[in-house]
């Protein structure tokens, strides 16, 4: 059985699927990083992804262009980020509750909105045309390298963007004035305020950026991963993303690594489905167990560090 497993993992198609499965988690996890750095907890990622995955498909359908769909999903994501922002920052709703409300709205509200706009119930499989799907690209040179090629080439445009965004978010946070403001506001809002940084404005920007990133993750799900929108399409990825962010210690690169870990566990689960002796359900629970244990271990190391210092 172990042989079977190792022979499964050490294939190029497995490597390919790890990257494919990681991408949407990575989008949402980066979204979580940006918000968290500014001191706003975006727990609404799940709901934002639900809305943007739906509207991505709808925009693509109306214009028959995947690009418009992706941009639409990004904008919708930012708008829902703004909604959380307005309620949390202006109207002083507890931000965890504001995010929870968006999640509640996203789970069933999307089914309703789909019906309102198209008369369809539950999924958009009938709408899908090839022009609406995010295209795959083969990378010249890399494509022809054995092993590396089949793993890293032939992904969708958005998959590459997800991994490029890791660098972009890092640069944004650590090499730009906006990033400095975001970190300052997150670490000590009063201090930031005293040197003339507008705390509110920075937090609005961060939560909207966060929403936009989650929006891309939504577009990835409905316009590439599942090829159409259906109920429960995000399946808790927004929550996994929060865990990935926490495990990655809220740093872009660390978050990418923990997202890859989730991608790996998920891909493994998919592969093991149907194998005798393995329960696909138990395998599916691995990423969540890893998160709880991982967070606990991280917390223990932090406590020890604090004790040594103290």
């Amino acid at each position: 059985m172990l042989n079977q497993l190792t022979s499964m993992i050490f294939t190029t198609s497995f490597g390919y699927s790890v990257i494919r499965i990681t991408a949407p988690i990575l989008f949402a996890a980066l979204a979580s990083v940006v918000a968290e750095k500014a001191g706003v907890v975006n727990i609404g990622l799940e709901g934002i992804m639900m809305f943007s995955s739906l509207f991505g498909v709808l925009f693509a359908y109306w214009t028959n262009s995947w690009l418009v769909g992706v941009i639409g999903a990004l904008v919708i994501g930012a708008i829902f980020g703004l909604i959380i922002g307005v309620f949390a920052l202006k109207l002083k709703t507890n931000i965890v509750l504001a995010g929870t409300a968006i999640n509640i709205a996203g789970s069933g509200g999307t089914i309703f909105l789909l019906y309102m706009f198209t008369g369809l119930r539950g999924n958009t499989a009938n709408l899908t045309t090839p022009q609406m799907l995010i295209p795959r690209i083969n990378i010249p040179l890399i494509k022809s390298i054995p092993v590396i090629g089949p793993i890293f080439s032939g992904h969708s445009v958005l998959t590459y963007i997800a991994f490029i965004l890791v660098a972009v978010v890092w640069v944004l946070l650590y090499k730009t004035p906006l990033g400095l403001r975001i970190r300052a506001v997150g670490e000590n809002p009063n201090a930031a305020d005293s040197v003339g940084v507008s705390v509110l404005k920075t937090q609005y920007i961060a939560i909207m950026l966060s929403g936009a990133l989650a929006g891309l993750g939504g577009a990835f799900m409905s316009m590439y991963y599942s090829q159409s929108w259906n109920t429960g399409i995000t399946a808790g990825r927004g929550f996994i993303a929060m865990a990935a962010q926490a495990m990655g210690q809220c740093e872009p690169v660390g978050t990418m690594l923990s997202s890859l870990l989730f991608g790996f566990a998920s891909a493994l689960g998919n592969k093991m489905e149907g194998l005798p002796g393995f329960s696909s359900y138990l395998v599916a629970s691995i990423p969540y167990i890893v998160t709880v244990v991982g967070l606990a271990i991280y917390a223990v190391t932090q406590l020890k560090k604090a004790r040594k210092r103290g």
């Binding site: 309620f87 709703t93 069933g108 999307t110 929060m242 926490a246 167990i289 606990a296």
Partner: protein
């Protein structure tokens, strides 16, 4: 502002939140129903009145549907009161239902005792599971929110694993367990409705939790931690132990709710996804402003809307999922502390002016 005016204002604000949500619902209905008038009457009137008479069956069903959300609502009240954003009610409800049904199938006992034992063991299991996020938070200072969210999915998959691979009744078309014994059933009060005796247990639980939160030292300590955790610590409260206790109570209530729901409304265990009561419980707790005594009322309101949306889906073709949007809007405005703050400001100013002029009058008279 004096206390009465403040309460009046809070009431007014809640009303505005509900009106906004209903206005949004109206807009949606006008866009998407073929016959908006019919849809509206389904949403607002039909749940209690049909064919010009009170629809008793429907009313009792609405009451019955409050049962699980009263439990999860109470659970959230207690957990959030200690300033812990534990969102594990969802998973623990599912676990409670699953364990209760299994005990109902495989542990034969006398009628009455059977149901009670099944519910109590499910409640204990629920409390034990909630220990995890509580301990992780108190001992390791790791976010209870993330842990509890993960816990939901771990429970979901573990339950599905055992349901599919160990306890499934293969003779049935859909995945479910065998039927539990008649002795474990939580009885229905009026046949043909969804009202079970579980509803009365929920009301009793409400009274107990309300007394606990507002009339006991522990309840007071939980609320103090919620209001100002540091102050509570400095004043000598055992903050860690109290937080853990509050989360266990939340788990016990959620597990109980799941058990009663499964043993009352169904004959087998058939939840293949998270049941959603945990999230509705958050809404209920928000509507009740974290005060246990208002939880049944809030649950009733949501159950009413739930039934209305269901009827609207049947008779007017508007998807019942509209409920989620209405619920989210009410939720957002209810939880918004600064919502209508300008009106409040005006009220305060007006009152202050009156007071000043009243004092001036008194002085004038004295002089």
């Amino acid at each position: 502002m004096n206390k009465n005016n403040l309460k009046g204002f809070e009431f007014f604000r809640g009303l505005v939140a509900i009106l906004i949500a209903i206005a949004v619902a109206f807009i949606f209905i006008f866009i998407c129903a073929d016959d908006p008038a019919q849809a509206l009457s389904c949403l607002l009137i039909k749940p209690i009145i049909s064919n010009g008479a009170l629809n008793v069956k429907s009313i009792l069903t609405i009451l019955g549907r409050t049962t699980p959300t009263i439990f999860t609502g109470l659970a959230v009240c207690v957990m959030f009161s200690a300033d812990q954003f534990n969102l594990g009610g969802e998973g623990v409800t599912m676990l409670g239902g699953f364990i209760a049904v299994l005990l109902g199938i495989y542990l034969p006992m006398a009628a009455g005792v059977h149901a009670a034992v099944a519910i109590i063991i499910s409640a204990i299991a629920g409390g034990a599971v909630m220990l995890i996020p509580a301990l992780v938070k108190v001992k390791l200072k790791s976010s209870e929110m993330v842990t509890s969210l993960m816990l939901n999915y771990i429970i979901l998959y573990v339950v599905l694993h055992f349901l599919n691979n160990t306890f499934a009744d293969r003779t049935k078309g859909s995945t479910q367990t065998y039927e539990f014994l008649e002795t474990a059933k939580v009885g229905t009060v009026v046949q043909g409705t969804e009202l079970t005796y579980g509803f009365f247990i929920a009301l009793i639980a409400t009274v107990i939790i309300a007394i606990f939160m507002y009339r006991t030292r522990w309840g007071y300590a939980i609320r103090m931690i919620g209001i100002n955790g540091q102050f509570a610590q400095y004043s000598g409260l055992k903050v860690g132990a109290i937080i853990i206790a509050s989360q266990i109570i939340g788990g016990v209530l959620s597990g109980m709710g799941g058990a009663i729901e499964c043993l009352g409304r169904y004959t087998t265990f058939r939840w293949l996804e998270l049941p959603g009561y945990g999230w509705t419980g958050v809404t209920v707790a928000i509507l009740a402003k974290n005060n246990p005594i208002f939880v049944p009322l809030a649950a009733l309101f949501i159950a009413y809307l739930n039934r209305g949306c269901e009827l609207m889906a049947i008779y007017a073709g508007v998807p019942a999922e509209m409920l989620d949007i209405i619920q989210a809007i009410i939720f957002l405005f209810f939880a918004a502390e600064q919502f209508l703050s300008k009106t409040r400001q005006k009220l305060v100013v007006k009152e202050a002016k009156q007071e000043i002029s009243a004092k001036a009058d008194v002085k004038g008279e004295n002089a």
